[in-house]
Structures are given as structure tokens and as C-alpha cells.
């Protein structure tokens, strides 16, 4: 065990209809080798031993790829540090005696389930509105190398496709917009020949669903790109806008 002492202020909310409040949790013996979530594990262990209700938070892979973990830490999505998720944040980023505020994602489209866990089902619904290439499973498709794809396009499509769907972009946006999330998917497919046939319809349908879910509008503040744990570029929003515009102009 380490020797850091911290004063945690953590959002507690029993359920979607509870008002919720910040609560103080002093912790000690924090090691700088711990991840932020391991620090919360230790706190929860202590809470359970005392017979209280542990703090609920989403997490799974703990290596920055599943997109389960969230947390607004000291006013930043996924806390301090660029290009990492909360589960990759380690306590060496903090100093002995620090006060740390821990809150859930706050967005109209992400209602709180309990404490720090929120419902991001809206992302799945946007995906099911058009985030795919309409190809059925078949053992008789053309060979994977039949259509060469310029390396640059494949690399850019990959960069967009690294989105983990965590929702940091929404949580950090002053408008609660999901544009970066939607743009990443639209952009990935629009850069690849396999995705071109449905590019217009995809942009229209995904944006329509995004609006239905209650996400805000994009006003180009660029906060999403800065807080995105996968550093997904605003370029993709520009590409989504182009696709969307072209689609509305040519819509029948």
C-alpha cells in the first residue's frame, strides 16, 4: 500500500428519480501505482465492510478499450491526462492531499442509473439506425483483396473506427452533442468503398436518431476532440457534415 491521502467528493444517487448529492470520502494509503478504479475498489471494499452501500460505477476491461468506464474527474471526462480512459488513469497523476471530485457523465440523453453509472443506450439506437454496411453473412463474398483500398483511406477509416463509444464527447460538450460519436461511424464507412453505397442514407438516419434521443447541437467548440480518449479528430465531424449536406440536397 502507498501513503497518499486524498479527499474524494463523490456523486451519490440512489436511482434515476433521486436528486443525488456529492458526498465526502477521505481515503488514505493510496499507492501511486494504483489505477483510479483500483483506488475506488479499495474504497468500496471499506464501505462494504462497514455495511454501507458501495459506489456504483461502470467498468469492465480496465485497459481502455471496452468503453464501459466513464467518470467526470475534477471537471474532466476521464480525468487528467490525454488519450486515456478512467481505467487507464493512475494515481501518480495526483498528489498527496488532493481533493478529487468524481461525477457521472451528465447529459440529458444519458440518464443516471445509480451513482456514477449512466444509461448510454441511446448510442446503440443510433448505431442500429444506420451504423452498418448492409451485407449479410455469406461464405461467397468477393475476395478481401478484390478491391484495393488506398492505405491512407484505410488508416483514416481505422482512426475513426477506434471510437469506443464511451460517451466522453457527449459529457464534455456544453451542448451535450453526440456529433463526434456519430461522425466517427459515418466517417469510417464513408472512407471505405464498402460503405459508399449507403453513405447518404446512413448520415441521414443516424443524425435523425441522434436528434430524437435528445442530444444537443454541435457548435464547434472542439471540447469533444480534446477529451476523447481515442483522440478522434474533428475532421470526422466535417466529413459527416459534408455527407449530411450532400444527402439532404439530393434526397428524393
Amino acid at each position: 500500500m502507498g501513503n497518499m491521502k486524498l479527499n474524494l467528493k463523490i456523486w451519490r444517487q440512489k436511482g434515476p428519480n433521486d436528486a443525488g448529492q456529492m458526498k465526502d470520502y477521505p481515503v488514505s494509503d493510496v499507492s501511486e501505482d494504483m489505477s483510479f478504479l483500483e483506488m475506488l475498489d479499495v474504497l468500496n471494499d471499506d464501505i462494504v465492510r462497514k455495511g454501507d452501500d458501495p459506489i456504483a460505477f461502470d467498468h469492465d476491461c480496465r485497459e481502455g478499450i471496452c468503453g464501459s468506464c466513464s467518470l467526470f474527474i475534477n471537471g474532466e471526462a476521464h480525468g487528467p491526462g490525454k488519450g486515456i480512459t478512467t481505467c487507464q488513469l493512475h494515481m501518480r497523476k495526483f498528489k498527496d492531499g488532493d481533493t478529487i471530485h468524481v461525477e457521472p457523465w451528465r447529459a440529458k440523453a444519458f440518464p443516471v442509473i445509480k451513482d456514477l453509472a449512466v444509461n448510454r443506450g441511446a448510442f446503440d439506437r443510433i448505431q442500429s439506425a444506420g451504423g452498418f454496411v448492409s451485407v449479410n453473412t455469406s461464405g461467397n463474398l468477393v475476395d478481401g483483396n478484390a478491391v484495393p483500398i488506398p492505405k491512407d483511406d484505410a488508416d483514416k477509416a481505422f482512426d475513426a473506427a477506434t471510437c469506443i463509444g464511451c460517451g466522453a464527447c457527449v459529457a464534455t460538450c456544453p451542448n451535450g452533442s453526440a456529433m463526434l460519436f456519430v461522425a466517427a461511424k459515418v466517417s469510417q464507412f464513408s472512407l471505405l468503398p464498402q460503405g459508399r453505397p449507403e453513405a447518404k442514407l446512413r448520415a441521414l438516419n443516424m443524425v435523425e436518431q441522434m436528434d430524437k434521443e435528445g442530444f444537443g447541437n454541435c457548435s464547434n467548440t472542439g471540447a469533444c476532440e480534446i477529451e476523447c480518449p481515442k483522440s478522434i479528430s474533428l475532421e470526422h465531424i466535417a466529413r459527416l457534415n459534408r455527407e449530411y449536406l450532400a444527402a439532404t440536397v439530393t434526397k428524393e
Binding site: S31, D33, M34, S35, E38, M39, D41, D45, V48, R49, G51, D52, D53, P54, D58, H59, D60, C61, E63, G64, I65, C66, G67, S68, G83, Q88, R92, I113, K114, A117, N119, R120, G121, F123, D124, Q127, S128, A129, G130, F132, V133, V135, N136, T137, G139, L141, G144, N145, I149, K151, A154, D155, F158, A161, T162, I164, G165, Q188, L192, Q194
Partner: protein, 667 residues
């Protein structure tokens, strides 16, 4: 003893699958609409199966415990996926992939299944490309490949260090397309807590809505378990925190035999344990062994000086380093299979050559690769007499392009720059080859209950080769189950909807509820993790990289004690009707506490060493695994009888008609 019927089709191996597919029964399109299928788990196997079956016209219900189907743990796979495309013209073929996989598994996999896997591997790549999966490509726009352990060709397709993510998101998008059409009903944040068997057939599940705590009954004509592996029985593993054995274990308790539970893959290149707070271990992809060289100091004094912080790895001269994999296995070098690499690292550390505070770490060094690539780049860019700094800079850029995200991940966790200092790595639990016993059709011993992907035992024998897990998950989900489940369901076209009010559903739900109530009313003193940690330590110490009869007997006794104490003294706060993560954990750990014992029993009964199963009593003079093909050329399939230590054992004899059994050599 009952005999297990593997239902391997007759005929030459290269024709079995084609002939089988052409002759089994199918369900007509109009009748598919009358048939319901439950898919539990939405990783590569489950996501692919649910999407494909819905495309075919079945009514599918898909379940996952995560908050979205996209978060299943397949997403964390890093390195790549194998396919016998032979794009590199290096002599690859379906047969070679099949042969490598059977040999890599140390001759404990079923030949026919493995051949089918190799056969459909090329289709997987075509399917994924068509879905818009952005695989790595070369400058000509064609798909790129790299090498993985245990093979001498380049057949691994990849998307930087995030291949699993890209393949899973491909399957997820196919699944979401069907959700959008209403062909799949998606139940996320739902955990399967029992299989319901009606008149000897799997006819549904009991699931808990993890947000409201409500228990739900879901009926179907077939149930597909695609629920992954059980590496978390060791507490510390590279698995996600939520990965668990519960679905498979409930199936086991309802009559599905469990195959080769002790076959565990210990992955050689993981970030070493740093302290008692540790919640999981992080893998560094096997692809790193393409360019990284594994070593420890030649002298014990140097190793001790490094452990004491008096020397760094870079202080050790080239001639004083022991590249032990290259020394012991010159033909394959750093790319020997995982079990071999892991044991070799353990051997060096046990002998006192470990290079971190705990003595349990070896170096994975990119110094030579950075130099080699730097010089190559200098040539390409026509830089004459490049300075050492320039070469280093150019080489670092190449290594960063190939493995950047892995290096960043390492630096975040360890707090040290791996471009400057060699990585320190140590083996960790990664994958479980064992799982529910299935026949050629992926059906368990319970009719109507199928197991796909890591949840079944079938394709990897006693050791899985790198980049083969993704291949198997997608093969099972996209290209095997859509055919084989039809043969089973052909009898159900007139069955009609399954009645979830029947006695079997009632009994199953009552049992699930009783268990939940026990946890919540127990009011013990210790949190769930306490027991899980203790179980994990016993498993790692006595049923890990090396096992012996004495240790296994001790482990069985210790696990039984921990289990007894768990039921008596576990504390689970909160109530049943809410989002209660401690309650979720309690149910999973309860199952691990039974599985762990069965794993030890399995290891104890297998009196040989093979693949990842290394029994210290059975080794060659040079420390290599000593297989016993006379007595153990078989699959152990265990039947549940209420007590893991007295579980009846059934054996499936493995017939090798094509591959000749030899001692696996990578020298």
C-alpha cells in the same frame, strides 16, 4: 461409462464439412419465422451468431451483461486473426493452418473441428472486409499480414493493436442492423442465471435485469451460449472484470459436460503484478514478439543488482544477456507458442534471474528492432551517414507506427517509457481452452444447448496459438452455427412458442431467487472479493503454470474450505431489486469456487504434460512437456453430480487420421 458421440462426419477430412453442410436438414424460410433462438453473450461468437441467425429469418433474443453489446471482452483482443489466404506467397494453405493448430494445441484438439476452422478462415476475412472492418493495408492497398507464435508463415490479419475491437464492432454493427429491423431483441445489462431444460431439451433461460433486479423468463427452441472463458477463476487475469463462468457453469449443472477444464493459457507477455491492490493484469500483444527480444541477465549478480535498483537493463552489455528463447529454441526463437514461452520465463525467474522487485519479470526489448528499422528507414530516405540519434529517431517512429497504442498502454500503467527502457513482462492467465464439451455441430450434451467460441472446448487442444481465438469465435458464429443449428431446429417447426409458465421455468426461477436471497440475508463479514482473491491465489500457485499431484490435492482441500466459508460468511449489501454490483459478483464467485475445484480435479487426473497443462512429474530431461498418447489422447468431459471432487468422468478418444503424433518441437 457413457460414450460421447462427437458426430464427426465420415469421409476425407477436406470434404467432411462441405458434405455435412450439404446433407444436414435445413429449416425453410417460412418456418424460421416460427422459431425462437436465444443467444447469450455478444462477443465475436455471440454477436456473429445472433446477426447471422436473424438475417436468416429466425427470431433472436440476444443477452449481454454489459451495458452495450459492443463491450463484450472480444473487444480487447489486440494482435490479430489468422486466415489461410496465402497472400504472402509463403506456402500457407488450409492444411498448413490446420496442421499448425493441431500441433500448437499439443494434439489434444479434435482434427475435424480444426480442419473446418482452417477451411472457413478465409471467408471470415472476406466477410469482415465487406462489413467495413478497416484492416491494416500496405501501400498497394492490399491487406497486410504479420507473424504470430508457433508458425513459420505470415497469416495474421490485423488492425494496429486493436484487431479484436475492429472485428467485434463489425459483428456488433451487423447485430445492430438486425436490432434496427426488429429481427433481434437486444437485452443488455441482463445476466443469464440458469438454463431451463424441458423434457430433456434446452428451452430457455432465466435472466436477471441488472438495473431493476427483476428475474425474467425467456423461452426459445434453442439456446446458444457464447459467454467466453473463465480465466477470472484466477482472480488476476487479462480478462475483463465481468468475464465469468456463470452461464457455462449453470449449463454444466443442467447436464452439459465440461471439457478439459484445466487447460488454461498463460500468456507470456503481460505487465507484471505491482501490488496487492491490483484488480487485473494487462496483456502486451504477442505481435510484440515479432520485433521484441526476450532476455534476462546471464549472471545472477547482474540480476540481483537490477532487482536492487543498482543497475538498469541498459547497463548490461550485449554479451552478458541471455536471450533464453533464442538460445533454447533457435528455429522459432521469440515466436515459440505461448505455453513454451511462459514456462521458459518462469524457469529463468525461478532460477533467480528475474528483473523487477518481485523477481517475477523478464525483459522484452525493442532496442535491436529500433536500430534495425532506423537503418532501413535511413536507406529508404537516402540519408547517408545517419547519426545514431537519427537512426534511433527513425527506428522509434517505425516501432511506434506498428505498436504505438501498446507502448502507450504500458507507459500509462508502469510509468516508464518503453522506447527508452526495455519492457518488463511476466506470464499471466489469458484464455481458457477448456469449456463446455460440444460435438461437431457445437451442441453440448444437452439437446438444444449449443456452445460457441471460447465457451466451448473444441478447437485449441491444450494450447491455443496466437490470433486463433478471434478466428474461432467468428467461424463458430458466422459460418458453423447457422448451418448446424438448422439441423436441430428442423424438428421444431411445429412446436410453437415455448410456454414459460411451465414447471421447469417455475423451478429454475425459484432456485435463482433462493440463491440471491441467501446472499442478501447472509449478513456475513467479508466482501466477495476477499474470497475471490484467496481462490485466485490457490489456483495460481497450485493449478497455474506448473502443477503437481501434492499441490493439486492441497488446492482441492483449500478451495473446499474457502467455498464453505464463502457461503457462511460472505457479505452482500443492498437489495435484490436494484442495480447491485456486489450481488452480481457474489453469484459469479460462487460458481468460480466450484469450477476451481473441478479444474484441480481435472489436472490431477491428467497424468501427463501437454500444452498449457504442465505436470511437474511428467517432463523430459530437458524440461519439455512429456505427453502420454497411450493413456491421455482424449478429452476429459466431466458430468455434474453435485460435488466437483466426485464428478463422473467421461472420455472422448481423439483419433488422428491425418496428423501424425510426434513430440512437439520448436527447436
Amino acid at each position: 461409462m457413457s460414450t460421447l458421440d462427437s458426430k464427426i462426419p465420415p469421409g476425407p477430412i477436406e470434404k467432411k464439412w462441405t458434405d455435412h453442410k450439404s446433407h444436414i436438414r435445413i429449416v425453410a424460410p417460412a418456418n424460421k419465422r416460427r422459431i425462437d433462438v436465444i443467444v447469450v453473450g455478444t462477443g465475436l461468437a455471440g454477436g456473429a451468431a445472433a446477426a447471422s441467425l436473424a438475417e436468416m429469418g429466425y427470431n433472436v433474443k440476444a443477452f449481454c451483461f454489459q451495458d452495450s453489446a459492443r463491450r463484450a471482452h472480444s473487444i480487447a483482443a489486440q494482435g490479430g486473426i489468422n486466415a489461410a489466404k496465402n497472400y504472402q506467397n509463403d506456402g500457407d494453405s488450409t492444411f498448413r493452418l490446420f496442421y499448425d493448430t493441431v500441433k500448437g494445441g499439443d494434439y489434444r484438439a479434435r482434427e475435424a473441428n480444426v480442419y473446418r476452422l482452417a477451411e472457413v478462415s478465409a471467408n471470415i476475412i472476406d466477410q469482415c472486409v465487406a462489413q467495413g472492418v478497416p484492416f491494416a493495408r500496405d501501400y498497394g492497398g492490399l491487406l497486410d499480414n504479420r507473424s504470430f507464435g508457433g508458425v513459420q508463415v505470415s497469416r495474421t490479419f490485423y488492425a494496429r493493436g486493436q484487431t479484436g475491437q475492429q472485428l467485434l464492432l463489425g459483428a456488433y454493427s451487423a447485430l445492430m442492423r438486425q436490432v434496427g429491423k426488429g429481427a433481434v431483441q437486444m437485452f443488455d445489462r441482463h445476466e443469464m442465471l440458469d438454463v431451463v431444460v424441458v423434457d430433456g431439451k434446452a428451452r430457455g433461460i432465466i435472466a436477471r435485469n441488472l438495473i431493476t433486479g427483476e428475474l425474467e423468463r425467456h423461452g426459445a427452441h434453442a439456446v446458444l451460449l457464447c459467454t467466453g472463458g473463465y480465466g477470472n477463476v484466477f482472480f488476476l487475469s487479462t480478462n475483463a472484470m465481468g468475464s465469468n463462468v456463470t452461464a457455462a457453469w449453470k449449463a454444466h449443472k443442467r447436464g452439459a459436460y465440461f471439457g478439459n477444464p484445466c487447460f488454461t493459457q498463460i500468456h507470456p507477455t503481460c505487465i507484471p503484478v505491482s501490488g496487492t491492490h491490483q484488480s487485473k493484469l494487462t496483456l502486451m500483444s504477442e505481435s510484440l514478439r515479432n520485433d521484441g527480444r526476450i532476455w534476462v541477465p546471464k549472471s545472477l549478480e547482474d540480476a540481483k543488482a537490477i532487482r536492487d535498483g543498482k543497475k538498469k537493463g541498459s547497463d548490461i552489455a550485449e554479451g552478458d544477456r541471455d536471450y533464453f528463447l533464442e538460445r533454447r529454441y533457435p528455429a522459432f526463437g521469440n515466436l515459440v507458442p505461448r505455453d513454451v514461452a511462459s514456462r521458459a520465463a518462469k524457469e529463468r525467474c525461478d532460477a533467480g534471474f528475474g528483473v523487477n522487485k518481485t523477481g517475477e519479470a523478464v525483459y522484452l526489448d525493442f532496442g535491436a528492432a529500433i536500430q534495425r528499422y532506423g537503418k532501413l528507414e535511413a536507406n529508404i530516405h537516402k540519408i547517408e551517414n545517419a547519426s545514431p540519434e537519427k537512426i534511433r529517431e527513425l527506428g522509434t517512429k517505425v516501432v511506434s507506427d506498428k505498436y504505438g497504442n501498446l507502448f502507450e498502454m504500458y507507459e500509462n500503467i508502469v510509468g516508464e517509457d518503453p522506447y527508452m527502457h526495455a519492457m518488463k513482462i511476466y506470464p499471466a492467465v489469458h484464455y481458457t481452452m477448456g469449456g463446455l464439451w460440444v460435438d461437431y455441430n457445437l451442441q453440448t450434451t444437452v439437446p438444444g444447448l449449443f456452445a460457441l467460441g471460447e465457451a466451448n472446448f473444441s478447437d485449441h487442444g491444450a494450447n491455443r496459438l496466437g490470433a486463433s481465438a478471434l478466428m474461432q469465435g467468428l467461424a463458430d458464429g458466422y459460418f458453423v452455427i447457422p448451418y448446424t443449428v438448422g439441423d436441430y431446429l428442423a424438428d421444431d417447426i411445429r412446436t410453437g412458442a415455448i410456454d414459460t409458465k411451465s414447471a421447469a421455468f417455475e423451478e429454475a426461477e425459484t432456485a435463482v431467487k433462493g440463491r440471491i436471497d441467501h446472499f442478501l440475508n447472509n449478513k456475513g463479514t467479508k466482501p466477495v472479493d476477499d474470497f475471490h482473491r484467496r481462490l485466485g491465489k490457490v489456483m495460481w500457485d497450485k493449478c497455474g503454470m506448473a502443477r503437481n499431484a501434492t499441490g493439486l490435492l492441497e488446492a482441492i482441500a483449500e478451495i473446499r474450505r474457502i467455498r464453505e466459508e464463502f457461503w457462511r460468511d460472505v457479505r452482500v449489501p443492498g437489495t435484490a431489486n436494484e442495480f447491485n454490483q456486489e450481488l452480481e459478483k457474489a453469484g459469479r464467485v460462487a460458481d468460480f469456487l466450484e469450477l476451481g475445484e473441478l479444474m484441480c480435479v481435472d489436472a490431477l487426473n491428467r497424468n501427463e504434460s501437454c500444452g498449457g497443462h504442465f505436470r511437474e512429474e511428467y517432463q523430459e530431461a530437458d524440461g519439455e512437456a512429456k505427453r502420454d498418447d497411450v493413456n491421455f489422447r482424449n478429452v476429459f468431459a466431466w458430468e455434474w453430480n453435485g460435488d466437483p471432487s466426485t464428478s463422473p468422468l467421461h472420455k472422448e478418444q481423439l483419433e488422428f487420421e491425418v496428423v501424425k503424433l510426434t513430440q512437439r518441437s520448436y527447436k
